[in-house]
C-alpha cells in the first residue's frame, strides 16, 4: 500500500480543521458584540466567587487507570496481527491457538491480579 492512499485522509483532516476554523471565525465575525464585565470574566461556580485552585492535584486512581489502559491496550494491539492470520495458519496446520491462549492467559492473570489488589476499586 502506497503513501498516496493516505492522501484522502490528509484531505479529510485538513477539511475538517478548516471547517471548524471557518465556523469559529464566522461565529466571531457575525456574533453579537457585547462589553465584558467583572461577572462575565469570572469562572462559573454557581454564582459565587471561586475559592481556591481550579486545578488541584487529583486522585492517583486516575493515573493507575491510565497506566492499566496502556498495558492492556498494547496487549490488545499484539492480538490484532494474530487475528489477521489466524485462519490462514489453521488452514496451513500451523499451531496458533494454544500459544496465543497462553498469552491471553497471562493477560487474564494480570487483570485478575489487578482486581484482587483492588486496583480498580473506586471506594476510598
Amino acid at each position: 500500500m502506497e503513501i498516496a492512499d493516505y492522501l484522502p485522509v490528509l484531505i479529510q483532516v485538513l477539511l475538517a480543521a478548516a471547517l471548524a476554523g471557518a465556523i469559529l471565525m464566522a461565529s466571531h465575525v457575525f456574533g453579537q458584540r457585547a462589553r465584558g464585565n467583572y461577572i462575565k470574566d469570572k469562572a462559573y461556580e454557581c454564582g459565587l466567587p471561586m475559592e481556591g485552585n481550579p486545578h488541584p492535584r487529583f486522585g492517583v486512581k486516575f493515573y493507575v487507570v491510565a497506566m492499566l489502559f496502556i498495558l492492556f491496550d498494547i496487549e490488545a494491539v499484539f492480538l490484532i496481527p494474530w487475528a489477521l492470520i489466524y485462519r490462514e495458519f489453521i488452514a496451513s496446520h500451523i499451531p496458533i491457538l494454544w500459544p496465543v491462549m497462553f498469552f491471553i492467559g497471562i493477560l487474564v492473570l494480570g487483570l485478575a491480579y489487578e482486581m484482587k489488589k483492588k486496583g480498580l476499586e473506586w471506594e476510598r
Binding site: Q12, L24, E45, A66, H93
Partner: protein, 388 residues
C-alpha cells in the same frame, strides 16, 4: 496521481463532510423530536422558512416536523455573542472545540459507506481504502478525548475540570473493551472466502455475505455497542456532562458556536460510531444475509443496477445507521445515568473480561470450525494474496 484526481478526491471529501454534518444536525432534531414523542410532548414545530413553508400540505407538514429547526439553531449559534471570558486559557479554549470536532470528521475517511460493481466484482465506495481500517478509526476517534480534556483544562473552572478528568478516564477504559471486541470480527473476516491479512472495513463487509456477524457474534457486538455508548458520552454513560451534578460538564464555560462545535462533534461521533457498528456487525450495505442457502443476489440485489445500485447501497447503509442513531436516542430518554465509579466498574470488571472471553471463545470455535469444515474443502487458489 494527477491534479484532476486530487481535485476529484477533494470534491468527494467535501460531499462526505456535508452529508455527515447534515446527519449530525438532523440527529439533533431527531433527538429533540423523539425525546418529545417519548415524553408525550410535541417538540419543535414552529420554525418556518418563508416560501417553502407556504406550500399547501407539505410545507405545513415540514414545519410540524421541525424540519427547519437545525437551520434556525445554526443561525442562532452564529449570531450569538462569542464570549471569551477573562479567566480562561485563551488559545486552548479556542482550540478545544476544533480538536473535538476534527477526529469525528476524519474517521469517516476510511469508512466504506457503499459499494459499486464492475463486472460483478465489488469495490468499496470509500475516501481512502487504507489497509489499517479499524485501527485508524479506533486511534483517531480516541483523539476526541483531547478536545474534552483541553476544554476542561482551559476553562480554568472546577466543574469543567471534573468533567474532563472523568471523561478521560472513562474513554480510555471503554476503548480497551472496544478494541478487544473487534478482534473476533477480524479473526473471522480474514477467512478463506475473503482473503487474509486485511484490516479494512470493506473486507469485513465482504465477509458478511453469508451471515451478519451480529447474529453469530452477539457477545462482541454487545460489548462493542456498550463501549460505543460510553465512547460517545451518551446516557447512561454521559459522565463528562452529567448536568445534575456537573452543570454543563466540560463545556460549562463555553457559548456560541464554540459550544456548537462540541455539540455537532458529539452527534457526528455518534453517527460515525453507528456506521462503524453497522459495518462490523450488521453487514454494512448488504441487503440480507444469505445464511449459506439463499441465492447470492439476496446480499446485494442492486449489484447489477449500475450507478443507481451504488446509490441504493449508500442509502441502505445510511438507513441502517439511522436506525442505530434512533437506538441511541431511545436509550438516552429511557434510562437513568450510572454513577461514575459504576461506569468504571462496568468497563473494567465486566466489559473487558467479556471481551477477553469472547476472544477466547471465538478463537476456539473458529479453530474447530475450520479444522472440521473449511480446511478440507479449501482450494489453494482461494487463499487470496499471499502475505509478502
Amino acid at each position: 496521481m494527477d491534479i484532476v484526481e486530487i481535485l476529484l478526491k477533494i470534491l468527494f471529501a467535501i460531499l462526505v463532510v456535508v452529508v455527515i454534518m447534515t446527519i449530525a444536525a438532523y440527529s439533533v432534531l431527531a433527538e429533540r423530536k423523539v425525546a418529545s414523542w417519548i415524553q408525550g410532548r410535541v417538540g419543535p414545530n414552529r420554525t418556518a422558512l418563508p416560501g417553502l413553508s407556504a406550500i399547501p400540505v407539505l410545507g405545513r407538514f415540514l414545519v410540524r416536523m421541525g424540519m427547519w429547526q437545525p437551520l434556525a439553531d445554526g443561525v442562532k449559534f452564529l449570531f450569538k455573542e462569542d464570549p471569551l471570558p477573562g479567566h480562561v486559557k485563551k488559545w486552548y479554549y479556542c482550540l478545544a472545540p476544533v480538536v473535538a470536532l476534527v477526529p469525528s470528521l476524519s474517521t469517516v475517511a476510511v469508512l466504506p459507506f457503499g459499494a459499486y460493481w464492475v463486472n460483478g466484482v465489488e469495490y468499496p465506495l470509500v475516501l481512502a481504502n487504507v489497509d489499517i481500517g479499524i485501527l485508524f478509526i479506533l486511534a483517531i476517534s480516541s483523539l476526541t478525548v483531547y478536545g474534552i480534556v483541553m476544554a476542561g483544562w482551559a476553562a480554568n473552572s472546577k466543574y469543567p475540570y471534573f468533567g474532563s478528568i472523568r471523561s478521560s478516564a472513562q474513554m480510555i477504559s471503554y476503548e480497551l473493551a472496544m478494541g478487544m471486541s473487534v478482534i473476533p470480527v477480524f479473526m473471522w473476516a480474514n477467512g478463506p472466502a475473503t482473503g487474509f491479512g486485511d484490516l479494512t472495513l470493506f473486507g469485513v463487509v465482504a465477509a458478511q455475505k453469508d451471515l451478519w456477524l451480529g447474529i453469530w457474534m452477539p457477545l462482541p457486538a454487545f460489548v462493542f455497542l456498550v463501549s460505543l455508548f460510553a465512547e460517545t458520552n451518551r446516557l447512561p454513560f454521559d459522565m463528562p456532562e452529567s448536568e445534575t451534578e456537573l452543570v454543563g460538564g466540560f463545556h460549562t464555560e463555553y457559548g456560541s458556536f464554540k459550544f456548537g462545535l462540541f455539540f455537532v462533534g458529539e452527534y457526528a461521533a455518534m453517527a460515525i460510531g453507528s456506521a462503524v457498528f453497522v459495518v462490523l456487525f450488521l453487514g454494512g450495505w448488504n441487503f440480507l444475509p444469505t445464511f449459506g442457502f439463499l441465492p447470492d443476489w439476496v446480499a446485494n440485489p442492486w449489484a447489477t443496477w449500475g450507478w443507481f445500485g451504488s446509490v441504493v447501497s449508500v442509502l441502505f447503509f445510511i438507513g441502517k445507521t439511522l436506525t442505530f442513531i434512533f437506538l441511541f436516542i431511545w436509550v438516552r430518554w429511557t434510562l437513568p445515568r450510572f454513577r461514575y465509579d459504576q461506569v468504571m466498574n462496568l468497563g473494567w470488571k465486566y466489559l473487558v473480561p467479556l471481551a477477553v472471553a469472547s476472544i477466547i471463545i471465538y478463537a476456539i470455535v473458529i479453530a474447530l470450525w475450520d479444522t472440521a469444515v473449511t480446511v478440507d474443502h479449501i482450494k489453494p487458489e482461494t487463499f487470496g494474496p499471499a502475505p509478502q
